[in-house]
Symmetry: C2
């Protein structure tokens, strides 16, 4: 990872920790971003449920945060408020270790359309898909509709 | 609220705080249950987002917890693990005050079917709907599919 990229990740992480206190309680970390895939992590300990596996609320929060963060990274210097409008999450298998939300950059055509509409109207919507994998399989599938507002 | 009911609510709340550490960070309170409607609350302060309104992750966690708690109350003394399989949440308006998740008891026919299948097979599924209201309007709609396992 380049130093610029690393600095940008720490900036997003600091923003989350300062602006959304629950991210500190969850110990959320912005782990990596290679322009295609963003990874957010959180340790199991503060995020477990009554069965000792990852709490659904933490998984939902972490995938939502991955969506916010990906939009901020895609928008770069553009000043934008990002909100989530709707999301669906499927818990297929329990997550037994570190919570690791992987959010993929949408197809370039989608990203370009999103950026163009945002630049033109100050408001644009983007659908994002995140997964949480553990022990080599997809445990959680998340789909969210996010809106950026100037 | 009867003393028995009040004691049961404190029991559910203690269970959440002991078993799911994030509920302590969120300061979740089991506010009321009249056999028809369960209300869980959390103050805005530890649950706000970067815009000063309720964080989507907190709203999703609180409504999920309301679903768990309603299933525990419906199952009463029956020993059960409760998990969430899938949920959809719509954020219609920002929540600017206390987060207040209202979860309704499903139609009695559904509850009876759920209890009978659980008693017979040790596994049953129930769909639950929760809303979060603020300033007199529905701000968040949540639908979740929960499973109880013996």
């Amino acid at each position: 990872m380049s130093a610029v990229n690393e600095a940008r990740l720490r900036e997003v992480e600091s923003f989350l920790h300062e602006q959304i206190p629950l991210t500190r309680a969850m110990a959320v970390r912005v782990a990596s971003w290679d322009e295609q895939t963003l990874i957010l992590e959180a340790p199991l300990e503060p995020n477990h449920n009554h069965l000792g596996t990852a709490f659904g609320g933490s998984l939902s929060a972490l995938t939502t945060l991955a969506g916010y963060s990906l939009l901020w990274l895609l928008l770069g210097e553009a000043k934008a408020h990002v909100v989530v409008r709707e999301s669906t999450i499927r818990y297929r298998h329990p997550v037994r270790g570190t919570l690791r939300a992987v959010c993929g950059r949408p197809a370039e055509e989608e990203v370009e359309k999103f950026r163009a509409i945002f630049a033109q109207t100050g408001k644009a919507r983007l659908s994002l898909v995140c997964t949480v994998e553990d022990e080599g399989r997809v445990c959680v599938e998340f789909e969210g509709s996010f809106v950026a507002l100037r």
